[in-house]
Symmetry: C2
Subunit: 459 residues, 2 copies
């Protein structure tokens, strides 16, 4: 292993006790929330300013030492794991909300602010930040993985939400991408190049994010459907009609069985469900609901349950956000593996049916939740711990689902990212465009120190 003692000494001179080589801190920065093997950084840096991040990167670049940015570790594809050692840069102390521009509907933040902290701070302004991946991730991490979640069907993903970034490059140079103007034709779109780059092209140290007004009226609902296809067709028709669904989440019958086990008072049947939210003026929401209901009932929907009071909506969405735990409740003590494919919505019902059939064939329980308005769905494959045969079957099932998505013209990751786990699909998904990504990586990070082993082949 490379001797990093000189690098670490220089970093300690810069950061003092904000550089940690303690075992527990390193362990905390050596794993994420997914089924990935951990790997330890040699030290963890806790910078407080962009200048410090820049200096850390300069010091590391001088000795070809890897740097891996870390938010709160909610990644599901191993992004934050320092596969080749080096320095984990924990951005948690850069958590200031710098400027709220109410007239422009945007906000400038440091990367360690979490989405819930931002929304808490915005509440009095009547504005909201809309990207909701479930976990209370940092905004820097969400930009780096191009996160999305339940609201993306209406308000977009991090792709549509990030207006501009400050980024520290591989040699320590600090750049700003974009201006605060809402649009621009002034050159290459570096903002979008860094959004989703998973720490492999630079370290995000500041973000300007688009906000939305909190709607006057919010209504949530659940509805049961005779089949996944009926639920998907309902959503397709609703979107074609221009109903501006704010959230539309699919849960299959297996997942609903888990929901019933995990939330005994939820009282919903074990049939495919849509969880919905409508935003607008009172009259607008009423109209959306009426139109949606007509479409849904024509597809056989039943058991509509409505929630307009904030506490009822919270209960419903808490249940949806706990879908992961509810799914796991189907097999207490099980480990899990999460898929994340996304396909054209016209192919969604067919892709889901094929994925469910594959799970049945594999003899594995795999409850399904989906951001159905975007064509994105997750299957939570449940695995007995320490059962290597079952783990192999689970991996094979995940592989089949990924290849199914590609066969339908989709992507192996709608919102979780590539990390190290999904690099094997990149050539198949992107063809020769995959090599272009490598060319860009080598041009911007010639030494390969930025989160090496992730997203892109370096040599």
């Amino acid at each position: 292993m490379t001797d990093r003692s000189d690098t670490i000494a220089r970093l300690r001179a810069l950061l003092g006790d904000r550089l940690s080589t303690g075992a527990s801190v390193r362990e905390m920065h050596g794993r994420d929330e997914a089924y990935s093997a951990p790997a330890l950084p040699e030290a963890v840096a806790f910078p407080e300013t962009t200048a410090e991040v820049s200096e850390i990167v300069r010091i590391c670049a001088a000795s070809d030492c890897p740097v891996v940015p870390f938010g709160v570790g909610t990644s599901l594809e191993g992004h934050v794991i320092p596969l080749r050692g080096g320095i984990s840069i924990d951005l948690g102390r850069m958590s200031r909300i710098l400027e709220v521009h109410e007239a422009d509907l945007d906000v400038t933040v440091e990367p360690g602010v979490t989405r819930k902290a931002l929304n808490e701070a915005l509440r009095a302004s009547g504005l909201m930040f809309t990207v909701d991946p479930g976990a209370d991730a940092t905004l820097g991490g969400m930009a780096a993985t191009r996160a999305s979640g339940t609201n993306a069907v209406r308000y977009g993903t991090m792709r549509e939400t990030v207006l501009g970034l400050e980024v520290v490059l591989a040699d320590g140079t600090v750049i700003e991408t974009g201006t605060r103007a809402k649009k621009s034709s002034a050159g290459y779109d570096l903002t979008h190049l860094f959004v989703g780059s998973e720490g492999t092209l630079g370290i995000i140290t500041r973000l300007t994010l688009r906000l939305h007004g909190i709607p006057e009226q919010i209504s949530a609902a659940t509805a049961a459907f005779p089949s996944v296809a009926a639920a998907v067709d309902t959503v397709i028709l609703a979107i074609q009609m221009g109903i501006p669904l704010a959230r539309v989440e699919l849960l299959d019958a297996v997942q609903m069985r888990g929901m019933a086990a995990y939330n005994p008072d939820l009282g919903l049947a074990e049939a495919p469900h849509l969880f919905l939210e409508f935003h607008g003026s009172p009259a607008g929401v009423e109209e959306q609901v009426a139109q949606f209901r007509e479409i849904a009932e024509a597809q056989g929907a039943a058991d509509f349950a409505w929630a307009s009071r904030p506490e009822d909506r919270s209960r419903l969405w808490d249940a949806r956000h706990n879908a992961y735990y509810a799914g796991k409740a189907l097999r207490p003590g099980a480990d899990s593996m999460v898929t994340d494919v996304c396909v054209p919505i016209s192919a969604l019902a067919e892709c889901i049916a094929a994925a469910q059939e594959a799970a049945d064939e594999a003899g594995l329980l795999a409850p399904l939740v989906g951001h159905v308005g975007d064509g994105n769905f997750h299957m939570l494959i449940l695995i007995e711990p320490d059962n290597s045969e079952e783990l192999a079957r689970a991996k094979d099932l995940a592989h089949r689902i990924n290849r199914l998505a590609l066969s339908f013209g989709g992507t192996v990751t709608g919102e979780h990212g590539i990390g190290s786990g999904k690099m094997r699909y990149m050539e198949e998904e992107h063809g020769p465009a995959w090599a272009v990504m490598g060319t860009i990586k080598r041009a911007l990070d010639p030494k390969g120190i930025l989160n090496p082993g992730k997203l892109v082949q370096q040599n």
Copy 2:
């Protein structure tokens, strides 16, 4: 001058009479619609397939011969002008609409399809393509300049509209960026890298574009305001309230004087105006209109005129689209120079006031139109032909307006692009990020054959 006879002979062998070296064809491909000095290509190629574009680029790459893509030449920043000679690749014969996916609300087209041709073809499907830069540009050209226009406030620019591209790279390799899935976290966002790259990174040979349903109800209106600031404040408040304005265009008093001269039966006062459009259900539009009207009247708006019948709306928007000619009607026979700055909407009124003051100080007539929901406005500086002193004053005024926008945190180009004319501002607007664009250009086009002299410094 380099001898291209061998390159041209090889291209002729490939294309036969679809390679032209005739003077009039070369002249047509040596200019655009702007105030840019023309330059001739040595030949013009008219490919009909991606494979032919790829082969043309391979042949040109072998002799370091520049290639410049050409749509219909509606660029306003000299993008299509072959500054260093070489081959103009006219994509006008690649004008097929390949696939309409109604359930997915997207369409795949060749780059030579124009926006009006696409909307004509879509009409029966109930879908519409929403980016509207005024000119009937090709969709490939619109993607290459990241065009936008009057609908962007609601539906986005080409940035939000392009879902995926097929691109021929500098060595002739053909790549596809993106999938047909609505979102993805699978690697670097190459789609957005090529959108707005002005032919300097590759040649777009196919596009998948987002569509929207044609709204059930469309209402248009005009309203007069006591000042530009009152009009801008109205728009800020309307957007903050969440009114989904489909179009909101500002015309200042000078421009309205031109409108009156050019459209004698338009019957609108010489005061700052907003031209508006509302899309939605009948009840939804009625609600939007009522809410907007209340805000506008509180800001002193008067003379509301409504148009719900298609022919009345067309008359109104034809008048808006002819604003360029109306502006020129203020000074018959004048040449013109168009600015294109975009600033945060909170700074828009102040920036416009300063720009108007600068025009007055320069003693130049410069009517103004603005995509006010995006913070983007154009001033049409009118110049006496062959008056070099006035031309110098006009250039100085445009320069002052560009620097004003930068001082307000904005961009020198909201939608027209950089071309060769605005490269001088890139360092000031982007700082060290400008060098990153150069690094990317050199990595993807090491020989510098793709539209050389545009957008980015090559050496």
